[in-house]
């Protein structure tokens, strides 16, 4: 089964008040974990998203789709990056815990829907 681990925009804001050493260690932790997950074959995909300040939202307004500046959700709730992993729930939670233990910032772990009729 597949799980998605999501990081949110609030982490970026939290980084602003951290020391350079803390930031360097955090990037090292994330990169190491990412490499491990890719090498073990557990990682299906992983991406980081650009800052939500650059986002646009297309809304249906006045009978037509209209792009407006800014993300749909509040910046701190906006998706900042994700891992898609081929793992069971226990392992997904264990991976997320490794990151949260360091960043002290929450992550969401969610099951990805199956395409086959028989799960």
């Amino acid at each position: 089964m597949k799980y998605m681990i999501m990081m949110f925009g609030g982490l970026g804001a939290a980084i602003q008040d951290r020391s350079p050493e803390w930031i360097v260690s955090m990037h090292e932790l994330l990169m190491k974990l990412d490499t491990e997950l890719k090498e073990s074959g557990e990682c299906v995909a992983s991406e980081s998203l650009a800052d939500p300040g650059q986002a646009k939202t297309v809304r249906f307004s006045g009978g037509a789709p209209v792009p407006t500046d800014g993300p749909f959700a509040e910046v701190k709730e906006s998706l900042a990056g994700y891992w898609i992993l081929e793992v069971d729930e226990e392992r997904a939670l264990q991976i997320a815990s490794q990151v949260v233990a360091y960043t002290e910032y929450p992550m969401e772990v969610r099951r990805i829907m199956d395409h086959s009729a028989q799960p």
Binding site: P20, S48, Q54
Partner: protein, 423 residues
């Protein structure tokens, strides 16, 4: 050099030559290009085990010709089935004709191929993909790996590009003189884009990105050999060599960006620097000075400086002044502001940046803000510099850039404590 590497080099050297011969004989660029790609794949499978044939170019031409005939037969068989029409592959020359003799050896079709692949009807991504395959002799899989996209994406891009070329009625010939300058401009732009794709993004497996740099330099060398009198082509090659010479010093062991001023200069490639300088010296003054030569001259001044402090900034500023008149643009202004700051102080640089604030083309790049942050830091305004770094960090879509900018901001917020006097 390993055997496989030698085979790879051979294949890539012959790819445009074989394709040129086929297209000249049969027209149908798209079908010929597919056939050559098949021949290259067959060679890559067979040669490492069976050894390189005695006449590798003829081998490739024979196999590509067979692939072309097979494709025609399959095509006409399909047509037969579909229309139940009478058999007849008339108009297609028999196999024997295809392989006798190569085009006269003095003729090199590579230039015509480059012009065709960089046809103005194509989008830049298509020009890039088609040039790398048809002229560079790379496989679809290699191109896909280098651009970090699925193989099917590149395959489709190439099919569509060839369709567009056919629809545009483009012919396999050198454009007339009036068009040639414009088309050459596009060819140089495509090669420079390939180079930048490899150089500026450090995302993805480093080795594959490096391949793009090597390929851009190889094709620029080829172009320079075909058009030795074109000063801007020489400038482009020199620019690539002088820029790529700094590659090893440009990123730290953990992938972090190291700015020019902090680079360990002993890591620079002195051979590439010497070659770039030699090309530039030979070229400057032989033709009209264009943006590639000017940028190469600026890169050469950086490369010549034994330390960052020893950089000849007044000379660099003078070159940016010329560049501003030859090829003005916001990116040139931005670089000129940096040079200006080095010569006349950060406030002079900041004043010039002020003129860019309203430029629409700068609204979606972090570069303006990043340069502003550096200059503000130099004036001693730590709070404003930090805000500027953070704004730039939010604007960039490059992970290494973002990490670099966040760290600069964090350093201003948490200054490394300077040890007080002992005792």
């Amino acid at each position: 050099m390993t055997g496989n590497q030698r085979i790879g080099d051979l294949l890539r050297e012959f790819a445009p030559q074989v394709l040129g011969v086929l297209v000249r004989r049969h027209g149908q660029f798209d079908a010929c290009e597919d056939a050559v790609q098949e021949a290259l794949l067959a060679a890559a499978m067979q040669w490492p085990g069976e050894g390189v044939p005695e006449r590798p170019r003829s081998w490739l031409l024979t196999v590509a010709s067979r692939a072309l005939v097979d494709a025609w037969r399959a095509d006409s068989a399909r047509r037969r089935r579909e229309t139940a029409a009478a058999l007849g592959a008339a108009g297609h020359p028999p196999l024997a004709d295809l392989t006798t003799g190569l085009a006269d050896p003095g003729r090199d079709d590579t230039l015509a191929l480059l012009f065709l692949c960089c046809h103005p009807a194509l989008s830049p991504p298509s020009q890039l993909a088609l040039t790398l395959r048809a002229v560079g002799g790379l496989t679809t899989a290699q191109i896909a790996a280098a651009f970090l996209v699925p193989e099917a994406t590149i395959a489709k891009r190439i099919v569509r590009a060839k369709q567009r070329i056919r629809d545009a009625g483009a012919r396999f010939e050198l454009p007339d003189q009036l068009q040639a300058a414009e088309r050459l401009g596009i060819v140089m732009q495509v090669l420079y884009l390939v180079f930048n794709e490899g150089y500026t993004t450090s995302s993805g497996p480093a080795l594959q990105r490096t391949d793009l740099i090597a390929e851009a330099i190889r094709l620029s060398r080829l172009l320079h050999r075909l058009l030795p009198g074109e000063a801007e082509v020489a400038g482009l090659l020199a620019l690539m060599l002088l820029t790529d010479a700094r590659r090893a010093a440009r990123t730290g062991t953990d992938g972090r960006i190291v700015p020019l001023a902090d680079q360990q200069r002993h890591l620079w490639d002195t051979e590439a620097i010497a070659e770039g300088q030699a090309i530039l010296t030979r070229t400057l003054g032989t033709g009209p000075v264009g943006p590639y030569q000017l940028q190469a001259a600026i890169a050469a001044l950086h490369d010549e400086a034994p330390t960052a402090e020893a950089t000849d900034w007044p000379q660099i500023l003078a070159l940016y002044d010329v560049l501003t008149t030859v090829a003005p643009g916001p990116v040139v202004t931005l670089s000129r502001a940096v040079a200006l700051a080095h010569v006349h102080g950060p406030r002079a640089g900041l004043a010039l940046l002020g003129t860019l604030g309203a430029d629409e083309r700068m609204a979606h790049t972090h570069r303006l803000e990043a340069v502003r942050a550096h200059l503000l830091e130099q004036t001693g305004n730590a709070a404003a510099a930090r805000d500027s770094y953070l704004r730039a960090a939010k604007m960039t879509a490059s992970m290494p850039e973002q990490r670099y900018l966040e760290l600069r901001a964090a350093r201003l917020h948490h200054p490394t404590p300077t040890p007080g006097p002992v005792g």
